[in-house]
Symmetry: C2
Subunit: 408 residues, 2 copies
């Protein structure tokens, strides 16, 4: 079950002026589930995206990048679950393009004004006819107050829908931000089998939005890992409809930081929700590495810990077998690491220093912390000023079960 | 259960002239198990070692390196299970040194002529008094025909003992090679929680032996992974007692290659045995990556596949969910990889080419191969001439169970 995470109530996901959402049950892969989502955007919306760095990126990712680089103005998004349309070659591109053309035809847009997204099984052809057949139903229920249904429509192995909202005042106007995400396996930075959509009605310039999405993704989706696998389909989209009535924000505006931080805050909550709903997760782990020479080496240590199956299974067992953490620090790849000059903390408890177990440490302390569902692992390298925080989950029987059974 | 692996029969592990082995039940951690091993070597033996690259290397690893660098001539090895003596700081070094001194005293040697080894739980003090108390019993049963007991005495989470022998004729003399190994978790190159000891009675120069151990380890123990964790204690030792009666072999000798290949063959069998006995393993996977620009990029791809929990759980389920392999190839880190110009084979079956599923591929073919216990995954990159082969295993419920319960 998800770790301290439940689905948002419908009324907590605030409508964003200029964003309408509609869904359909199109039987892309399984019957009786919402599996197609259509989002429409007001004219003159700014839209920015960040996508997987996997070389086997999916056909819709390729098309998204192409459509965003054209200046037609994005007006609609189309998401399907059940099939990733990845590892599908030229045929996959054509099918993704067909789905954009179909939606554009129904909405009186150009195909290049549609961004397509797919998530699900890789290496299978997209049943594009089914997706297209579902579009009229999705369009018929388009409305602004439909975020929870949208969050549900993009779920795959997710147990709970993920979404959150914020409001802030900019330029005397109330600005709303609402975001949804999906993903719980194949989760790793750069990015994960995750889809994220964050919309605001604020007026913000295209360059400012692009700056914010990079900032936000580095603080959020690029700081999570479930299993170290980077998906072929990861996409995060930020949209700004310009309907809140504020003067357009640029990177030089006084309110830029406030809006950036609010959007980033939403991104962090959506990213952490993915980890809390990580496949089979029973524990949410925050791994903080401090005192590194640079962020790169802090990341090496943090991910060595966060990816170690030995550590993740020990956390599942609530077993303070903390030597495994020292081993991971040791093989993280910092060649000149002085293991006699670093500290390891579990929560507030000093576990190891001077190359060995701290004399003050008692196993009962570690055992007590390991029973919590949210656990902090903190490593102090004492080499410099850089620090990195990432979030991950433990590794349970259910992870194996979910991934051994995923296609059945 | 181990994948096509059973313990060797005692009579198949051939004595090596000049190597005696004795064990004790010293209750280092658990009662009624062989947990201390003593090996003695004839005078003038050549000895070479390769050790973990983990920065948190264990105290005995530090001492081994120091003793090998002195020119006293190694005459004895001391191994204990139950405690790794790693993450134990200065105190751990002193305890390891005490154990060497004790054995040296009993055998009339210098402490620097003893190599110490420990394997087991990290971050706990070595109960050196128990180890020392076990030495007289181990010495009392020292004999040449004791390799199977020795293989059993170094087991931790291993299910079966691992050992093998070879004989060849060099210079008209019969040369014998016998090796044992242990390890089944925290297995990754450079190296693994593995201990390996390979002895021969051949006469071989120290430089030639050092050249051979490097060659052999790169073809064997550095090509295996179970969970991607690199241990603090890994050690591989090669020993040559010079008692076979052949003229001393150097790197220029006509017989050098034959002896090198025989020793390497033993190392490969011992390394593969560790994977076949991998924690929870039900399948043995060979991952071969061909046509890379260099070995480094082939290794990236091979390990991305071999470390992916998504792939390893799919193999456990015998599910040909092969898109996960494409995803791993895509995120392996080859930035200029042309995914439209590579092929993926499962066994002899072409699965993917031109960026997508091969038109000839039928899922029934993949499903049939996935039911085998030994499976070949072959990736052809079509970028150059380099290739790399590594061995790994699948990821099962039992992996989680073993590692969640390891200390209990």
């Amino acid at each position: 079950m998800p770790v301290k995470l439940s689905a948002p109530k419908a009324e907590t996901l605030l409508p964003v002026k200029g964003v309408q959402l509609g869904y359909a049950e199109a039987y892309v892969r399984k019957p009786n589930r919402k599996d197609v989502l259509v989002m429409t955007l007001a004219e003159h919306s700014a839209v920015a995206g960040v996508f997987t760095q996997n070389r086997f990126c999916a056909a819709p990712v390729t098309l998204c990048k192409s459509h965003l680089s054209q200046s037609e103005g994005i007006r609609a998004l189309l998401v399907n679950t059940g099939c990733a349309n990845a590892g599908t070659g030229e045929d996959g591109l054509q099918r993704a393009q067909q789905s954009c053309q179909a939606l554009a035809g129904l909405l009186n847009l150009k195909a290049s004004q549609v961004l397509p997204f797919s998530t699900g099984v890789i290496l299978e052809p997209l049943p594009v006819d089914k997706v297209i057949a579902g579009l009229p139903a999705a369009i018929s229920n388009l409305k602004e107050d439909n975020w929870l249904n949208a969050a549900e429509a993009i779920m795959t192995t997710d147990i709970v829908a993920k979404g959150t909202s914020r409001q802030l005042t900019i330029d005397g106007k109330t600005v709303t931000i609402t975001g949804i995400s999906k993903g719980s396996g194949m989760i790793h930075p750069n990015m994960a089998t995750m889809l994220g959509y964050i919309a605001t009605d604020a007026a913000i310039s295209q360059p400012a939005l692009e700056s914010i999405i990079q900032y936000a993704v580095n603080k959020s989706f690029n700081c999570i890992t479930v299993d170290g696998d980077t998906s072929t389909n990861d996409s995060l989209i930020m949209m700004a409809t310009h309907l809140a009535g504020n003067a357009e924000i640029t990177a030089q505006s006084a309110d830029f930081i406030a809006l950036r931080d609010a959007l980033t805050d939403v991104a962090i909550e959506l990213a952490q929700a993915i980890v809390r709903d990580g496949e089979g997760a029973t524990k949410f782990m925050t791994v903080k590495v401090e005192g590194g020479k640079d962020e790169a080496e802090c990341r090496k240590v943090a991910y060595a810990i966060a990816h170690s199956p030995l550590i993740k299974t020990a956390f599942f067992a609530s077993d303070p077998n903390l030597g495994r953490i020292l081993a991971a620090i040791g093989y993280a790849g910092i060649d000149d690491l002085d293991v006699n000059n670093m500290e390891l903390y579990l929560g507030d408890v000093l576990v190891a220093e001077k190359g060995g177990r701290a004399t003050s440490y008692e196993e009962a302390q570690g055992a007590a912390i390991m029973k919590e569902s949210d656990i902090l692992v903190r490593v102090v390298l004492n080499r410099g000023q850089a620090d990195v925080t990432i979030w991950t989950c433990d590794f349970s029987y259910d992870y194996v079960k979910i991934n051994a059974d995923y296609r059945s």
